[in-house]
């Protein structure tokens, strides 16, 4: 994985000094809270309901074991002994003290980490496929391009105060595991007919209160124009994105209001101009970065079979592992969704254990997924049982990836100052209702996502089942929707009808799964059955 050179290190060190100075000016009163707010947000520091929350960047979701270990140590030292992995592949701490944040950042900088642009109206942490560099189906490892974009977007002077936040995702597989088309810019690395690698650009996707699927805006950007094209996309947005209403300020509204073709025309015009400016890093820089992402030293001829005689292990292998590109190896996903647990939370001890397993059994690499789980990308099959045993003993050996138990949920009203309803207790109830392994196996793949407000941090629009918490005259109310998907077949979920209270929505979810099981044909997933039979049979069961 990528390793900082002296320049990268100097950039994060300088940021620590800058932020320390900003905190000093805030505490001395030189900066008012109103003036300080946009500055702290550019550094991932939010003021939540009960305390400050600090969001630490995990660029394209990739970590080494030393970094992961420090995340655990920070949870102990500065928080309450746990951290929360997010849908943006980051980690956040919910009980932070303002005067300690510069020290946290200084500690993070010692392991090449930071909180730069994890919030605010700027280009956020770049996200990617959690299986990058390991997946059997990828065209190329997308992370070198994500790293190029990380450097380009860090403190880009023209794009620090955009109309609204800006999220970029880079993938390189046909199967989209990162909800690429639900980003402000989605980039898919492809190989063209001539065999050259290039970038396919999508723009104007997003969730929030107006969910939209990004249209393609260019089918092939050559690698030596990648940064220049991104710059053109951003400049058009910075100049013409709406600033009169924060709810209409994302690029999706600009693309929608101009129309895809007019946005493309403006970008191409700006692109033609920017090509005359020497702003593109040389290919040698891309090659330098790519060298950091060379394959680890896989053992050739490693045994390709697994002893599945332990039935619990067998279930976990079925649910939580994915084919690796290297024979004898496997990708293991650690579920941070134990039955009745808080989705995405891990204790400091669990974080340190995962760090050790990454070091000992996965070539020192771990990944954070947008479904709030952790991946060990390169596990030798012969080691897999040992790994699972250790996870299981620590309470994170749950076999439920992509099932109804693997719920995505935002922090909701338990923490968030924007939320209208609680997400966590509902996720816990659903997780318990469907807690039995048999029930989960019977239902199979079912992606359930919960947001505690219309901002959709819990990705409810993209859930096979999506739940949105709203405030109805002071009472929490949950709207149910079906049919969303974030994969190659991206679609947005549709609302079923009137909302429910907390217990009511759990019952409705259960009824929906019964309709699915009664109508399921062959190997159909919940989503497939829903798409085939439509909303009516579900509505009838839920409201009838």
């Amino acid at each position: 994985m990528y390793k900082y050179d002296e320049y990268d290190q100097q950039m994060v060190d300088t940021r620590v000094a800058e932020f320390r100075d900003q905190v000093r000016r805030r505490i001395s009163g030189e900066l008012t809270e109103d003036q300080f707010k946009p500055l702290r947000l550019q550094n991932g520091l939010y003021l939540q309901l009960h305390a400050y929350m600090l969001r630490v960047a995990v660029p394209y979701g990739t970590l080494n074991s030393v970094q992961m270990r420090l995340l655990g140590d920070i949870a102990d030292k500065y928080d309450r002994g746990y951290g929360h992995f997010t849908t943006r592949q980051n980690i956040q701490y919910n009980w932070i003290k303002l005067d300690e944040t510069p020290d946290i950042l200084a500690e993070l900088a010692t392991v090449e980490m930071h909180a730069i642009q994890t919030s605010g109206n700027c280009i956020r942490n770049i996200s990617s496929d959690q299986f990058a560099g390991a997946a059997a189906d990828e065209v190329i490892d997308p992370r070198p391009y994500a790293e190029m974009l990380r450097q380009w977007s860090s403190f880009h002077p023209e794009f620090l105060v955009l109309p609204r936040k800006f999220k970029i995702c880079v993938i390189a597989s046909e199967k989209d595991r990162a909800a690429m088309r639900l980003h402000d810019i989605g980039i898919k690395m492809i190989r063209n007919d001539a065999g050259e690698i290039g970038a396919q650009f999508y723009a104007g996707g997003g969730m929030g209160r107006t969910p939209m699927i990004a249209p393609m805006i260019r089918d092939f950007v050559p690698l030596d124009q990648l940064i220049t094209f991104a710059e053109a996309c951003l400049r058009v947005y910075n100049r013409y994105g709406r600033r009169d209403n924060k709810y209409k300020a994302r690029i999706k509204i600009l693309v929608h209001e101009l129309g895809r073709d007019e946005y493309v025309r403006q970008v191409e015009e700006e692109f033609a101009h920017l090509l005359t400016q020497p702003i593109e890093p040389p290919m040698a820089e891309l090659e330098r970065i790519m060298a950091h992402f060379a394959n680890p030293a896989f053992e050739t001829g490693a045994a390709d079979d697994l002893d599945l005689s332990d039935p619990d292990f067998r279930l976990w292998v079925e649910r939580n592992t994915t084919a690796h590109k290297q024979a004898g190896y496997i990708i293991a996903t650690i579920s941070l969704k134990p039955v009745g647990g808080i989705p995405g939370d891990a204790t400091a001890d669990q974080i340190r254990l995962m760090a050790d397993l990454g070091r000992d059994y996965s070539f020192d690499e771990l990944r954070v997924t947008h479904s709030q789980n952790i991946v060990l990308p390169h596990v030798k099959k012969a080691d897999l049982y040992t790994v699972w045993k250790a996870l299981d003993e620590a309470g994170i050996g749950t076999a439920n990836i992509d099932t109804v138990g693997d719920i995505i949920a935002c922090p909701g009203l338990d923490y968030c100052s924007l939320a209208n309803a609680r997400s966590i207790p509902l996720a816990q109830k659903i997780s318990q209702r469907f807690g039995s392994a048999e029930k989960q196996a019977e239902i199979g793949e079912l992606k359930l996502k919960i947001s505690g407000c219309i901002n959709a941090c819990g990705h409810h629009h993209a859930g096979h089942i999506g739940i949105l918490g709203v405030d109805k005259k002071g009472v929490e109310n949950y709207q149910l929707s079906f049919g969303g998907s974030e994969g190659a077949d991206t679609s947005l979920a549709k609302i079923t009808g009137p909302g429910f209270d907390e217990d009511g929505v759990v019952d409705a979810v259960e009824k929906a799964t019964q309709v699915y099981l009664a109508n399921k044909q062959g190997e159909e997933r919940f989503l497939d059955t829903y798409r085939r039979i439509g909303m009516d049979p579900f509505k009838e069961a839920i409201y009838g």
Partner: protein, 148 residues
């Protein structure tokens, strides 16, 4: 008139009254002899391009520093070859000074005078930068990594 607090130019200060972009470009640039213009966030800075040579001062107004359109305005005018004074006026804050400079601003007239020590630190904050903005004359980190 608000005072220029920081200026990084050797030439004589320009104090011509700035006209609006609309007034400057009206009727094919025939209505005014102005040599200074003020760009508001919603203006299209490219409208000035046909008569850029006439201008000695471009003020870019920031009614609120969180509206970042002025950064693009300044940078694209520099990219088009403008060499006169580019002055940031309005809500100009300490923490953005270095970034404004990188987009081509060389004069700063904040509504409220800034603490000179903090400002000095802010201008000098970043020894290195990741991007080539061209207009700031600085070499990007990638260029230092791969000297020609």
């Amino acid at each position: 008139m608000v005072e220029v607090q920081f200026r990084f130019r050797d030439d004589e200060a320009v104090n011509d009254a700035a006209v609006t972009v609309d007034a400057f470009v009206a009727e094919d640039f025939a209505q005014t002899n102005a040599t200074a213009v003020r760009i508001e966030p919603g203006d299209d800075a490219r409208a000035l391009l046909p008569q850029l040579d006439r201008l000695a001062l471009i003020e870019v107004n920031f009614p609120a520093w969180t509206d970042g359109r002025g950064y693009s305005s300044a940078r694209l005018l520099r990219e088009a070859g403008y060499t006169g004074e580019m002055r940031a006026v309005g809500d100009v804050v300490i923490d953005m000074l270095g970034h404004l400079q990188r987009c081509g601003f060389d004069a700063f007239a904040p509504d409220k005078a800034l603490n000179p020590d903090d400002a000095k630190n802010a201008f000098a904050r970043w020894d290195n930068v990741y991007q080539a903005t061209v207009v700031d004359g600085r070499q990007a980190i990638w260029a230092k990594r791969h000297p020609a």
